[in-house]
C-alpha cells in the first residue's frame, strides 16, 4: 500500500473512530470532554484530505480497495477512489466539519446530549467522506442513506421537542421519495449497463439507448431533488432548522444538501448524453432558485431565511449543471461553475449559520427577528462576521459569492447562445432576478438583526453577551474563506484547472474569460437589492408594514410558502394517514393473529419435549444409553450387508 492508499483509508476512518470512542466513553468517562475524540479525529482527517487534494489529480485518480468478504461466490469489495472532484469535496467536508465541531464545543456546552451530539457529528463526517470516496453508485447510495440517517438523528437531536421530532420525521419521509427514485435509477442502470461502477457505466454511455439514458438521469436526479431540497421536495429543509445551529451549518448548508449537486456532477458523462434530462435539471434548478428566494423575502425566523437561501443557491447550482444541454463543449465550464459555487457557498453559508447560532446563543434561543434588533454593538464580532457572510452571499465584489455566482450566470448566458436560446434566456433572467432577491433578503435579515434600536428578548435574562473565542475563531476562519476563496481561485482559473483534471470531463472546453456584461449586471442587481433593503429597513422602517398592507395577497403567498406544505398535506399526507389507519387495523387483527399462532406452536411442541428433563441423573444416563443404542442399531442395520 502506498502512502496515498493509507491516506484514503485514514480520512474516513479518523472521524469514525472518534465517533465510536465518544459514543462508548462519552457520558461516563469523558463527560464535558466528549468532543475531544471527534475534534482530534477531524483535525487529522483535514490534514490527510489536504494530502489527497495535492496528490489525487496528478495521476488522474487513485483508488484503494478493501476485501470485506471473500468467500467463493460471495465477494464484497469496498473500493475507494479519489480524483480532483472527490478531493475537493473531501477537503470541503472535513474542513467545514472540523470548524463546526470546534464551534460546537462552545455552542453545545452543557447540553445533556453533549456526547451523543459529537458521536453523531463524527458519524456524519465519516458517512459524507465515504459518499464522495465511493467508486460506484451502489456504495454511494449506501452512504447517501447513511448521511440521511445522520441528518435525521441530528434534526431530531432535541427529540423531546415535538416540533423537532416532527421536522426529523418530515425530512426522513420526504427524502425517502427521492431515494426511491434514486434506487429505481440504480436498478435501471444495472439492467442497462450490467455494472454500477463509475468507470464501467461511463464507458458504455455511447452504446446506450437515449430514452433509457434519459430515464436513468431523471431517476438519479429525483434522488438529488430530495437530498438537495429542490422543488417539489424542498419542504423539509426549512423545518430541518429545528436541529442545533452548527448542524444546520454543516449538514443543511455546507455538505449533505450538496450531495445532490455532487451526484449530478459526478454523473456528468450520463447527463451530457441526454439534453432532455439537462433541460429538466436546469428548469427545476432555476424555478427552485426563484421560488425559494421569493419565500425568503417575508420570513422572520433568521435561520429559515438562511434555509430558503440555501434552497435557492442549490437551485442556481442545478441551473448551471443543466446549462450544457445540447452543447457538450460547455459541460466542463458549467459543471465547474456549479461545483465552484458549491465550494464557496460551503464557506459563506456555514459562516452565516454559525453567526445566526451565535445570535441565538446570546438571545436565549430566540431566533425571531421581530423580537430583537440593533445588536451590532452588543455582538460586535458576530456582527462583523455575519456581514462578511452576507456580502459574500449577496455577491458583492470581491467576496467569494460574487465570483462563483458570476461563473454560473456566465455559463447560463453562454447556454442561451446554444440550441435552446429561448429557454436559457428565461433562465438567465431568472438567475439575475434571484441575485437581486438574494441581496435583498440577506440584507433585510442583516438590517433587522443588527440595525435599528437595540432590543433584546427577556429570554436572554439581561446578560446577552458575545460568544467565546471557541465559537468566534472557527467563524473567523470561515470568514477568511468566504472573503478570499473566490478571488484566489476564480479569476485565476486555479479552481477550473484543478477540477478539469477529473476524468469525467471527456472533451475539454475552451477557456472562458471574464464576461464583463454578466459581471456588471449581477453587481448592479446585488447593489439594488442591498440598497432597497437599506431603504426599507433602516431609512424608513415603517414602509415595509405599509407595503405589506397594500399587497396582502402577495405577502401572504410568500410568507405561507405558496401554501405548498398545506397542498401536500391535503394531497399526500391525508390519504396516507387513512391508508395507514387501515393497515393498522389489518395488522392488529389479522397479521398479529397469525404471528401469535406461529409463536404459540413452537412453545406447545417444546412443552411436549420438556417432559424427559426431570432432573434425575440416572434417568439421563438411561436416556443417553437408549439414544446410543438406537444409533448403534442404525449402524448395524445399514452396514451389515
Amino acid at each position: 500500500m502506498s502512502d496515498l492508499d493509507v491516506a484514503l483509508r485514514i480520512v474516513p476512518a479518523l472521524p469514525l473512530v472518534g465517533s465510536i470512542l465518544t459514543a462508548f466513553l462519552g457520558n461516563r468517562l469523558l463527560g464535558s470532554k466528549s468532543h475531544l475524540p471527534v475534534v482530534v479525529g477531524l483535525a487529522g482527517a483535514v490534514l490527510f484530505s489536504f494530502m489527497v487534494l495535492v496528490e489525487a489529480p496528478g495521476s488522474g485518480r487513485i483508488s484503494t480497495s478493501y476485501d470485506f468478504v471473500d468467500l467463493g461466490n460471495l465477494h464484497i469489495n469496498v473500493v475507494l477512489r479519489a480524483d480532483a472532484l472527490t478531493a475537493m469535496m473531501l477537503v470541503t467536508v472535513n474542513l467545514v466539519g472540523f470548524l463546526v465541531a470546534v464551534y460546537s464545543r462552545g455552542y453545545m456546552a452543557g447540553d445533556p446530549g453533549y456526547a451523543r451530539y459529537f458521536a453523531e457529528l463524527g458519524l456524519f463526517v465519516f458517512s459524507m467522506s465515504m459518499l464522495v470516496l465511493s467508486s460506484n453508485f451502489l456504495l454511494l447510495y449506501v452512504f447517501w442513506e447513511a448521511v440521511g440517517l445522520c441528518s435525521y438523528l441530528l434534526i431530531g437531536f432535541w427529540y423531546e421537542r415535538p416540533s423537532a421530532a416532527a421536522a426529523a420525521r418530515k425530512a426522513f419521509l420526504v427524502n425517502r421519495i427521492g431515494d426511491a427514485g434514486f434506487l429505481l435509477g440504480l436498478m435501471l442502470m444495472w439492467t442497462t449497463f450490467g455494472t454500477l461502477d463509475y468507470d464501467g457505466v461511463f464507458r458504455q454511455v455511447e452504446q446506450a439507448d437515449p430514452a433509457t439514458l434519459t430515464a436513468i438521469c431523471l431517476l438519479l436526479f429525483t434522488g438529488a431533488i430530495g437530498k438537495s431540497a429542490q422543488f417539489p421536495l424542498h419542504v423539509w429543509l426549512p423545518d430541518a432548522m429545528e436541529g442545533p445551529s452548527p448542524v444546520s451549518a454543516l449538514i443543511h448548508a455546507a455538505t449533505m444538501v450538496t450531495a445532490g449537486v455532487y451526484l449530478v456532477a459526478r454523473s456528468t458523462p450520463l447527463f451530457v448524453a441526454s439534453p432532455t434530462a439537462q433541460l429538466i435539471v436546469a428548469g427545476i434548478g432555476g424555478f427552485t432558485a426563484l421560488l425559494a428566494a421569493l419565500m425568503a423575502l417575508t420570513q422572520f425566523d433568521l435561520k429559515r431565511v438562511l434555509a430558503y437561501s440555501t434552497v435557492s443557491q442549490l437551485g442556481l447550482m442545478f441551473l448551471a449543471l443543466g446549462a450544457a444541454a445540447g452543447q457538450p463543449k460547455l459541460a466542463e465550464f458549467a459543471v465547474v461553475a456549479a461545483v465552484f459555487h458549491l465550494f464557496t457557498h460551503a464557506f459563506f453559508k456555514a459562516l452565516l449559520f454559525l453567526a445566526a447560532g451565535s445570535v441565538m446563543h446570546a438571545m436565549g434561543d430566540v431566533i425571531d427577528m421581530r423580537r430583537f434588533g440593533g445588536l451590532r454593538r452588543l455582538l460586535p464580532w458576530t456582527h462583523a462576521l455575519f456581514l462578511v457572510g452576507a456580502l459574500a452571499l449577496a455577491g458583492v465584489v470581491p467576496l467569494a459569492g460574487f465570483w462563483s455566482k458570476d461563473e454560473i450566470l456566465a455559463a447560463v448566458h453562454e447556454a442561451s447562445h446554444g440550441p435552446y436560446p429561448g429557454f436559457f434566456t428565461v433562465c438567465y433572467y431568472t438567475a439575475v432576478l434571484t441575485t437581486f432577491l438574494t441581496a435583498f433578503y440577506t440584507f433585510r435579515a442583516y438590517f433587522l438583526t443588527f440595525w435599528g434600536e437595540e432590543r433584546v428578548p427577556e429570554e436572554a435574562h439581561g446578560h446577552a453577551h458575545e460568544s467565546g473565542w471557541v465559537m468566534l475563531v472557527p467563524m473567523a476562519l470561515l470568514a477568511v474563506g468566504a472573503a478570499l476563496a473566490g478571488i484566489l481561485f476564480g479569476p485565476t482559473h486555479l479552481f477550473a484547472e484543478y477540477l478539469g483534471k477529473t476524468p469525467i470531463f471527456a472533451t475539454h472546453g475552451e477557456e472562458h474569460g471574464l464576461n464583463w456584461t454578466v459581471m456588471m449586471t449581477s453587481t448592479l442587481a446585488a447593489g439594488v437589492g442591498i440598497g432597497l433593503a437599506a431603504w426599507l429597513y433602516v431609512l424608513s422602517p415603517s414602509l415595509p408594514e405599509r407595503l405589506r398592507r397594500s399587497l396582502p395577497g402577495l405577502y401572504e403567498l410568500s410568507s405561507n410558502r405558496f401554501y405548498l406544505d398545506e397542498l401536500y398535506g391535503v394531497l399526500f399526507v391525508g390519504p396516507a394517514t387513512m391508508l395507514s389507519n387501515f393497515c393498522r387495523l389489518f395488522d392488529q387483527y389479522i397479521v398479529d393473529g397469525v404471528v401469535d399462532l406461529v409463536g404459540w406452536v413452537p412453545g406447545a411442541v417444546g412443552r411436549v419435549f420438556q417432559t424427559p428433563q426431570n432432573g434425575l441423573v440416572q434417568y439421563y444416563a438411561l436416556a443417553t444409553t437408549i439414544g446410543l443404542a438406537i444409533f448403534l442399531v442404525f449402524v448395524v442395520l445399514t452396514l451389515r450387508g
Binding site: D70, G72, F609, Q613, A621, T624, L628
Partner: protein, 517 residues
Amino acid sequence: MDSQIAEQLVGSLKLLVPEAILIAAACVLFVGGTIYRCRTTWSVSALIALALAFLAWWWGPAADARPPSVGLVAFTPLASFVSVLSLGAVAVVVLSAWNQVPESFTAEFHACLLVIAAGTMLVGAANDLLLLFLALEMISIPTYVVLYLPRRDARNQEAALKYFLLSVFASAIFLFGVSYLYGLAGTTNLTALSVALPIQRDSGFDLLLGLALVLVLAGLSFRVAAVPFHFYAPDVYQGTVPVCAGLLAAIPKVAGFVGILVVLNAALGLTSAESWFPQVRNVVTALCWILALASMTLGNLLALLQSDLRRLLAYSSIAHAGYVLAGVGAASASSGSGGQEAVLFYLFIYAAMTLGAFAVLGMLNLAERPVEAVEDLAGLWQTRPVAALTMAVCLFSLTGLPPTAGFWAKLYIFLSAWATESVLYRVLAVALAVNAAVAAWYYVRLVAIMYLRPPGREVTIPSDRPGLVGAMICGVFVLAAFLFPGWLWSASRQAVPVPDPSVQAGLGWERAVARDR
C-alpha cells in the same frame, strides 16, 4: 532408529513449551494457594501464565516450518488455531472469575483453569488417540473441581456431581470406541491410522469401523452437549455459577468438536479426494444430520420456554451444537463443502459470544441480588449501560444478526451445508435458517427486557471491573470480527487438517503396520 526417535522426542518437547508453562504455573498456584490467599495475586499470576504461554507459542517455530510429526503430538496449523482459541477463552474466564470465586479458593480455581487451557491445546495437537483421550480428561477432571469450588450449597454440589457422573460415562463410551479403532488398525497413532485403514478398505471392516466411530462420536457429543447427550446441560448450568456455566458452554464444546474433526479426518480422510470407506462415511453423514437437526430444533424449542437465564443459555448452547454439527456433517457429506473451516470459524466466534454473555451474567450475579430469572435483567440499560450493551452485542451475535460476527459464522455453516449438493443437507440448511429465526425470538426478548423495562429492584451493584473487561473483550471481538472476518476465515481454512502424502509414503507406515499385526 533409536536416535531418530530420541531426536523426534526432543523436537516435540520443544514444541510443548506453552503447555509446560501452563502446567508449571498451575503447580505453583496449587502449592502457593495453600500458603497465601489473595484474589488479585493469583488472578494476575494466571493471566501472566497465559500471556507467557501465548508468547512461547508466538516465538515458537512457525506452524508450517515445524517438522511433520508422526509421534504423539503433531504441530499442525490446527494445533495453532486451537492454542490461540484456548488461551483467549481461558483468559476471558479468568477475568470473569476474578471476583466470582471465594478468595480462599482463587488459586486452586485458576490453577484448574490453566490445566484446562493446556488440555484444550493438547486436543488440537494430539496425534494419538490415547493422547487425545488424556487431553480430554485434562479438561474434564479440573472441570469437576472448578464446578465444585465457587459455592458450597446443595444445588451447586448436585450440579457438580451430575456433571461428574455423566462425564465419566461419556469418557467410557469414547474409550470403548477408541479400543475398536485400535483393534481395526493395530495402532492408536492418528497418522498411522490414516494410512492403515485405507489399506484394509476391502477387508469387510465397515461395520466395525462404523460402530467405533459412532461410539467415539457419542462420547464426544456429550462434551458438545448434542441431543440426546445433552440432558446434563440445563441442570448443571442452572446449578452452578455463571462463570462455570460459561466455561462449560465454551471449552468442552471446542475440545469436543476439534476431537470429532481429528478422529473423522484420520479414520475417513474427510479432505482426501477418494473416500476409502464410502459406506461408513454415509452413515456418519446421516448420523450428523440427525444429531444436528435434533439438537438445534430441540434446543431452540426448549429455550423458548425457559424463564431461568442460565437454563435458557444452556438450551441455546445445545442449539449451537446443532449448528456446528451441521458443518461437521457437511464436511463428511462432501470434501469440497468447506464444512470443516466453517466449523472452526464458528467455534472461535461461538466461544467469544457465549463467554461474553455469561461474563455479563457473572458480573451482575451477587449473593444478595442473584440474577437468575429473565426478569432480573429488566432495566439493565439504565443501571449498567455498558454491561447491557455488551450483553446485547453478544445476544445479537448468538442470534446471527449483522453487524456481529455471529452472522458470518451462521452464514458459513449454511453455505457449507448448501454446497454439499445433497438434498438432505439442503433441507438441513433450510432448517438451520428456520431455527435461527425461532431463536431470534428468545434472544431479542432478552434485549427488549434489558432496554425497555424499568429496573425492578434498586440495588447498588459494586462494579466488577475485571468481569466487565472480560465481557467487553468478547463484545468488541464479535463486532471487530464482523468488520474484518478475513484473517479468521483464512486461519480457519489453513487449520483444516490436510493429509500429508510425504508422511504417509516416506516413513514406511505400511510396513510398520504390517509388522505390528
